[in-house]
Symmetry: none
Subunit: 227 residues, 4 copies
Amino acid sequence: MRKPTKPADKSAQNARPASVARGEVPASNRATRAQERRAAIVDAAMEEFIARGFAATRLDDIAKRAGVAKGTIYLHFKDKESMFEELVRIVIVPVVARLTALPPPTGSVRDLIEAFAGNFLKEVIGTRRGDLVRLIVAEGPRFPAVADFYYREVVSRGIAAMRALIELGIARGEIREKDLARYPQILVAPAMIAVIWQSLFARHAPLDAQEMLRVHLDLIFGERRTT
Amino acid sequence: MRKPTKPADKSAQNARPASVARGEVPASNRATRAQERRAAIVDAAMEEFIARGFAATRLDDIAKRAGVAKGTIYLHFKDKESMFEELVRIVIVPVVARLTALPPPTGSVRDLIEAFAGNFLKEVIGTRRGDLVRLIVAEGPRFPAVADFYYREVVSRGIAAMRALIELGIARGEIREKDLARYPQILVAPAMIAVIWQSLFARHAPLDAQEMLRVHLDLIFGERRTT
Amino acid sequence: MRKPTKPADKSAQNARPASVARGEVPASNRATRAQERRAAIVDAAMEEFIARGFAATRLDDIAKRAGVAKGTIYLHFKDKESMFEELVRIVIVPVVARLTALPPPTGSVRDLIEAFAGNFLKEVIGTRRGDLVRLIVAEGPRFPAVADFYYREVVSRGIAAMRALIELGIARGEIREKDLARYPQILVAPAMIAVIWQSLFARHAPLDAQEMLRVHLDLIFGERRTT
Amino acid sequence: MRKPTKPADKSAQNARPASVARGEVPASNRATRAQERRAAIVDAAMEEFIARGFAATRLDDIAKRAGVAKGTIYLHFKDKESMFEELVRIVIVPVVARLTALPPPTGSVRDLIEAFAGNFLKEVIGTRRGDLVRLIVAEGPRFPAVADFYYREVVSRGIAAMRALIELGIARGEIREKDLARYPQILVAPAMIAVIWQSLFARHAPLDAQEMLRVHLDLIFGERRTT
DNA sequence: AATGAATGAGGTTTCATTCAT
DNA sequence: AATGAATGAAACCTCATTCAT
């Protein structure tokens, strides 16, 4: 009844890797290839969701971009919604993991926070990960699971970490404004604004996020640092 | 997609009827009813777009909520996209108008900014208008016309106004951090964060936006004010 | 975004009926036309479901046969399943209505039952309605709602009516086998078999259902009637 | 669709291995295991087809239930359609074989028929095999090959056998109604109805099939037997 | 001006079938 | 012989848009 399915010519992908010719154990067994495909789908979905938002993204496009057939997506994800939800987890978890493996707090609090801001600048602002943050802001209300996850894993931890640093800064006399510990959001607000700005207004008015964050820290630490 | 904004030709229909020009008391005549319908559609569309985002909103639902037939929407708007784009204009223009009709700057700069923050708290944070901001953040990348408009009418003006205030504050010695004038975004960042927080995380951790903004101003103006 | 929809040329259907030309009140207003379409869908769905069964029937084919667009079906029915369930109701209800409006029981019980059998022969066996019975047998287990409805509206009533007739026949001495009243199914079994036979085996071995039912009645009423 | 039945070429694979022909005790060798798998597939498919009908049955589910991989099914059957068609054969053939190996007709015709009915009650009504009959009624119109086969192997033989018994009964004076021999369907109709009833209406109104068949025989043989 | 029935392109999802391993 | 990941045609269903009334 149904027509048979002719797999597209993927001979390039199926070619044995050179390692095999060399007699090594081939790293590319079936399970590994499946993982690669899954990763390709995740990447492609990420791009598409960021570019179009959840509802306007077509699974067809994700499949095409990932180089797999539409049906293949359903071998890895239950449906579009849970793909989106898992996606956020998949992308965010390793980032959180890296950040929680923080370097030991040596030096001044300002140094610490600057290191943090530097990381954030390099790894988030103006990158795909920054776009993901905007995506979460955009879709959060319709995906409570995503908002929950993001709050639990990123926001609440981030706030707690910032609060600890602020309290340390206050204790050491680096920070004067004692109430800041009650609203660590103030500390990160300019960074978040930078993320959003780059997505929306960069071409209207480019923003030097690094310099802005420096000024913000000057404001908090009450003095200018010579860089 | 990505087409430039076409001003709706239908706006000609919005011209006041001759009876109004002649100073007569307009009864509930046809033109008035049309205006009422248009307003109902705008309100309904606003609610739906905020609740579901652009792509997931159904014209059917807008029509139902507005109490009109689906076809009626097309008497007022060319299509869904331009409805969305016009909508943002329609809702934002009066807000901007009110804000630009600012009271004469009397008193300290901090007083001015606090008055401003108070307004923002009451009129934006946690309200439908706050949700609209989040909607623009969400849909901006897919609606350059909307992002453009919002940048031009709201962001650039807001930034300019803030900068003027900051410079005044610096000149008067109220603000010490001179570089702040280069990044007025820092001044508004916590307010924006408050808007987003209320949409996404209010139920996880309620945020006292008013108090946070006060602390932020303390940070900038370098002293605690007795309220 | 979406392309506009060009209605297929249905000019023949849209032509005003002759009654309008004659100045009569046009019977074909919008609501009426909707009802006609609904009826066309019901007929078409009936044909397709009977020909292919529930799962193998395509809504596309129903739409094509009914001369409407696919979407139109969804103006009348929630989905394929409820269409099927409603369909059975829609087709069966008038049949039951007609049968319950029975002629007054005059004459012998055998006459009554023969009249009944004659009706059944003409109206059910070898007709679309007979096919519907087979369809219910086929899909019943997967559509409990259908089986329930059919049992409630047709089977239990039919059994009750037959039992009453049998008891009358026993009381009048027309029927000897007293236990028959406990199993009216025996009375209708050959008629049901005829229905199924016509669907499945008619081309292998045609069955003279009328004659078979006559023999069956002879068996029950214990004598041959001269026809 | 509607293509004639193609005998599966794969049946060649079913030939007993040479070892068996040589009289050796076949260990759990490859051919045997293949036969076991095939049997498992047949059983599983039977269950699924009965539970869901042909179109709604998924090969995935059959494979899962049979404990084999999906691809394995295709080592035994050409495709889903021919699997279904073969299935009916595979299940029905042994039943027919047993029935045609009837005990020599000793005793009264009524005794014979009662023995028959007893068997039918035990082996068919309310069992998986009864469900198979309903399945054939359900899918017959779409699987002419199945209907043909069923008519040829079961129905026509059954009718012939019943006719022979009826004629014997008439000759011996046990059956009065001579025309019954022309419609042996009447004899089996209640049994068929019982099969269908158990599938569809058992939970609405349980039917004592055994008693019903007894009453039916009383009707035919014109007297009550003390059991 | 207003209606809402009708349309059909286009989206998501399923699943029979294939084939490299 | 057996596997099961991958395929993609085809199904169901939605909904922006049109247009006769």
